[in-house]
């Protein structure tokens, strides 16, 4: 729910409640006022009545006003009676029910107890009450509506800097390695927000730059000693008269160093992809690239007696970084070669939205999904680094491609598809 929507909702509920409370209490107060006024008058009329009956004899015609006064013979005055009560009587002429306030008391007329009820019509008072209430409610509604519109306008103006900041924050790209550029605001809180955002993004940008620098430096620092070992070993093998054992040791050193530098290269590649250091996307025709790669793999297919079937139903176009696409395809083909049997098969199918590579191979003993983890190898003793598929997965992740590994019997299949 949007912020302004939420404020409006709260305001709406608050208004309704206020409205009910104000209207209710107003009604109660006005009604109370009217009743006390009417009752006051009835009390005065009781005095008038008692004065009248003490000096004059009572006759039915003494009061001619309809329902004004009602006398009833009472046997005793001990029965308690309700002093004031509401009652409805029918108008004699138009048969309309009319509300009355009735005041009952005992009085002695000519030495005999009577129960006397004096009544007063409430019709004018109720009309008055209605008018007052309606006027009051109308003006209250108008007031609340005006307030509502006003606060909406105000909110929009007040929150404007916030939404500007939000838009800029959304556009923040860590790859740009630049902190947010936010303007000074009049409102203290927004200023605080902006300055903490600027501080935060500045730190992110600096950390990112440091990390990039670190990866590069780490690569340099590790590659250089490796280069030195390599070069010294290459010099060493030029020496004549080394024993077979010595040659074997040198060979072991040499191979381990090569392996190490390959591993360093692969880990560095992973870190670089992680850091998003490969920008530059192009529309790449994967089919073309695959065909080029297959040509350079031809020798290896012949050597390992691998039968290749290549099938294309459409050109797969992907928006990718060229270097990474190259690495992706090379790793997938390499993987299919490495884990193949001899003689074996590789099948590649390209369609408009999929790249499928299948190879014959030993049944899998691990969970296919785990093959995409770093240093995860099907065969622990194998010569592979266990990073090839991790790199593939990483490349797919950053390019929002989906990749799936499955196998049935002796066929292993990697499916790369557009998401």
């Amino acid at each position: 729910m949007k912020l302004l929507g939420r404020t409006n909702l709260y305001y709406f509920f608050f208004s309704i409640i206020t409205y009910i409370i104000i209207a209710g209490s107003f009604y109660v107060v006005v009604e109370h006022l009217i009743y006390s006024e009417v009752e006051e008058r009835l009390r005065v009329e009781r005095l008038d009545f008692e004065n009248f009956v003490s000096t004059n004899a009572w006759t039915e015609g003494s009061f001619f006003v309809e329902y004004k006064i009602n006398l009833q013979r009472a046997n005793d005055t001990l029965q308690p009676i309700l002093a004031f009560k509401d009652t409805v009587l029918i108008n004699r002429y138009n048969q309309q029910p009319v509300p009355f306030r009735e005041y009952s008391f005992y009085s002695k007329i000519g030495g005999r107890p009577y129960r006397v009820s004096i009544r007063k019509s409430l019709i004018e008072s109720i009309t008055l009450l209605e008018y007052i209430t309606i006027t009051m409610l109308l003006s209250l509604s108008v007031g609340l509506a005006l307030l509502f519109i006003f606060q909406r306008r105000i909110s929009k103006v007040l929150w404007k800097p916030f939404f500007e900041t939000l838009t800029k924050a959304k556009e923040f790209e860590v790859n740009d390695a630049k902190p947010l550029n936010l303007d000074q605001q009049d409102i203290f809180e927004f200023n605080e927000l902006n300055s903490s955002l600027v501080k935060m993004t500045d730190k992110i940008a600096r950390d990112y730059n440091n990390l990039k620098q670190f990866t590069e430096n780490a690569s340099h620092e590790i590659q250089t000693p490796l280069a030195m070992i390599n070069s010294r070993v290459e010099e060493l093998i030029q020496v004549k008269g080394l024993s077979t054992d010595q040659m074997r040791w040198i060979q072991d050193i040499y191979e381990s160093t090569l392996r190490l530098s390959k591993m360093n290269y692969a880990l560095l590649l992973l870190a670089k992809i992680d850091n998003g250091q490969f920008y530059g996307h192009d529309q790449i025709n994967v089919s073309e690239m695959v065909e080029e790669k297959l040509a350079s793999f031809e020798e290896i297919f012949n050597l390992k007696i691998i039968h290749l079937t290549y099938h294309k139903t459409g050109d797969l176009l992907l928006d990718m970084n060229t270097t990474l696409c190259d690495v992706l395809i090379t790793n997938l083909i390499n993987n299919a070669v490495k884990h193949n049997i001899n003689p074996g098969k590789i099948g590649i199918t390209l369609s408009l939205d999929q790249f499928v590579i299948e190879n014959s191979g030993e049944p899998l003993s691990t969970d296919p999904a785990s093959l995409f983890e770093r240093f995860r190898k099907q065969n622990k003793a194998s010569n592979s680094l266990g990073l090839g598929l991790a790199i593939v997965k990483k490349i797919c992740d950053v390019h929002h491609l989906s990749i799936r590994y499955d196998w049935t019997g002796e066929v292993h299949r990697v499916v790369l598809s557009k998401r």
């Binding site: 070992i229 010294r232 290459e234 030029q238 040659m247 191979e255």
Partner: protein, 225 residues
């Protein structure tokens, strides 16, 4: 032929120096940027091998300086960074080749020789080794003036051998030279073996002496001693 090696890592510089020295080059070493600029301005070299990362400057600046003083030397950049942008930049500013660390000394040797060949001979010229004659431009090989048809890979292999005569070459360096890092080493060694077998047969069939010696476990050596 004079070569200047600009590399701040002393051990690496020494290795390059002694390796290229064995090939008959006069090699000088500059261990820092300042040292390098001084040498460049004082002497002229046929080839400059320069590291991008120097403690007091970058290799790019040295390349730009060489271009400014209109030096005729060939330039090979060596770098620990395998970034495409660096490769592109180094070629843009006028260097001739780019090699990523760690590299094989024999590979550097082959690159230096190829570069010098391109620069010095200009037009068509032949590389001679006893009875073997390679026409560099036409990519053809003759044994005692008899044409030997070779496949592309066999030709590349022979050229690599001829560039590194009497040097023990590791299988890894040869595989990398032929296929780059496209193919996994374990597999490429087997293909390498079959290529070498074929090359040897083609050469000896035409009456060439068998110069290819195998060094157990390590690789091969091309030469007559």
């Amino acid at each position: 032929m004079k070569i200047l090696v600009i590399e701040d890592e002393r051990i690496l510089a020494e290795s390059i120096c002694s390796h290229l020295g064995k090939e008959g080059f006069i090699v000088e070493v500059a261990l820092s940027y300042d040292d390098a600029t001084e040498k460049i301005n004082l002497y002229s070299y046929d080839c400059v091998v320069v590291d991008i990362n120097l403690p007091d400057g970058t290799g790019f600046d040295i390349v730009e300086m060489l271009k400014k003083i209109k030096s005729a030397s060939g330039i090979i950049i060596i770098s620990a960074r395998d970034a495409l942008e660096d490769r592109i930049k180094s070629l843009e500013i006028g260097s001739d080749d780019y090699l990523t660390k760690p590299f094989h000394l024999s590979e550097l040797n082959a690159r230096v020789k190829a570069l010098l060949r391109r620069r010095q001979f200009g037009g068509s010229n032949d590389i001679l080794y006893n009875e073997i004659r390679i026409n560099y431009n036409a990519r053809t090989v003759f044994i005692n003036n008899i044409d030997v048809p070779l496949s592309k890979k066999e030709y590349d292999l022979l050229l690599y051998f001829i560039s590194n005569v009497n040097i023990a070459l590791t299988k890894a360096s040869m595989a990398e030279h032929l296929w780059g890092d496209n193919i996994d080493s374990a597999d490429s060694f087997d293909i390498l073996y079959s290529h070498i077998k074929n090359l040897r047969k083609k050469l000896t069939d035409k009456g060439c002496q068998d110069y290819i010696q195998s060094i157990y476990g390590i690789g091969y050596k091309f030469g007559d001693n």
